[in-house]
Point group: C2
Chain length 194, copies 2
DNA sequence: GGTTTTGTATCACGCGTGTGATATTTCCTG
DNA sequence: CAGGAAATATCACACGCGTGATACAAAACC
């Protein structure tokens, strides 16, 4: 019964269901039938908003990425002074990007899944490389504020550390606990900028 | 025509085909039919050695892991003196674990694929966590030889860095080039142990 | 009020998959 | 030489999938 519905809300409802499925079963677990069931909708309704399977996944991942980006931009404005305040700022940025609680763990899972999938599925490459570029920019700025010698190399190192910690936290390859993540990040930041 | 064949050689031939498929299409691309075609064998022959799909993938990944472990143990014996020699030793260990050339890139791809898959597929958990444990042990020992203050935390950090660099090197999430990997690893080791 | 648009709901098709069952061929053993 | 084991090769089945086509209901528009 097609009651007039807000399309954006509907799309969000569907992408939320897709995100839950990615967390539960991985990107490969996202099928029209499962998404429709998870969203309590008919397959036809889902297909009315998302033509094909990859469009849906990309939309879902983009929504999750925007959510992370929104949290980051809502952080305190970058400190100009390069002291302990700048270090604290970098740490709070890192805390947003890493699976410390359930919400951020779900986001880390989604990122890891789509990054891994993007290796063989070109449809995911644009959104993944855009996220990498955004992360790199944020890290370079935060590192520069601290006064790091070579911000570009350090940003690559820090991006690798974040990705790897996330990967090792959400998989049996490490089973890294939140406390360990925090300890590692603090140890890392402590060695930065002299 | 069942010519008498060495079973181990046959198994290896099949797992090699499976590994090529993982690199080309990911874990999800490993099906009996594709593996049989890649190995120039009949499906029945493949199934004669590997009962089900996950057994095959686990065997293939285990073979690749053993190959990496073999390379590591073939390195020079751990130096007892904790100076620049110990640092060089750690660097040569890291060079073996990271996608610097085609061979190691393929191995990194396989690891990333199965680690990601192990999150939702319990069948892959044992081999993945065993690999993580082996890596952790190697890193702790190398770091201790250097004289690092807290080898356990530093091993978690270094393991995360390796995983993340590998992930970002083999996917569009970074497209990190070999030179960048080397630079990051050298910068990281330079900050270790005081 | 008739028409168009928007959303919901099914059906059927072809494809690739794992898997069970089963021949058929070849070699080794007794 | 007989028999059994090992290996190879097919067949058929049910399953879940994306997708195209299509029907139907309700709101919106003119």
């Amino acid at each position: 019964m097609p009651v007039r519905i807000d399309p954006d809300e509907r799309r969000r409802h569907v992408t939320d269901a897709a995100l839950r499925l990615i967390v539960a079963e991985g990107v490969a677990g996202v099928t029209f039938r499962k998404v429709a069931a998870e969203a309590r909708l008919n397959i036809g309704s889902v297909r009315h908003y998302f033509a094909d399977h990859e469009t849906l996944v990309v939309a879902a991942v983009t929504a999750a990425g925007d959510r992370m980006g929104g949290r980051l931009s809502r952080l305190s404005a970058p400190e100009r002074c390069g002291g302990d305040a700048a270090r604290d700022h970098l740490l709070s940025v890192l805390d947003e990007l890493v699976p410390l609680d359930e919400e951020r763990r779900a986001e880390a899972v989604i990122l890891v899944e789509v990054i891994a999938a993007s290796r063989t599925n070109p449809a995911f490459a644009p959104v993944v490389s855009r996220m990498a570029a955004d992360l790199h920019a944020v890290l370079v700025e935060a590192l520069s504020t601290i006064g790091t010698a070579r911000p570009e190399t350090e940003a690559v190192r820090l991006a690798g550390l974040i990705s790897g910690l996330s990967l090792n936290a959400v998989t049996p390859h490490g089973d890294v606990a939140p406390d360990a993540i925090r300890a590692v990040l603090r140890a890392h930041v402590a060695t930065l900028g002299r």
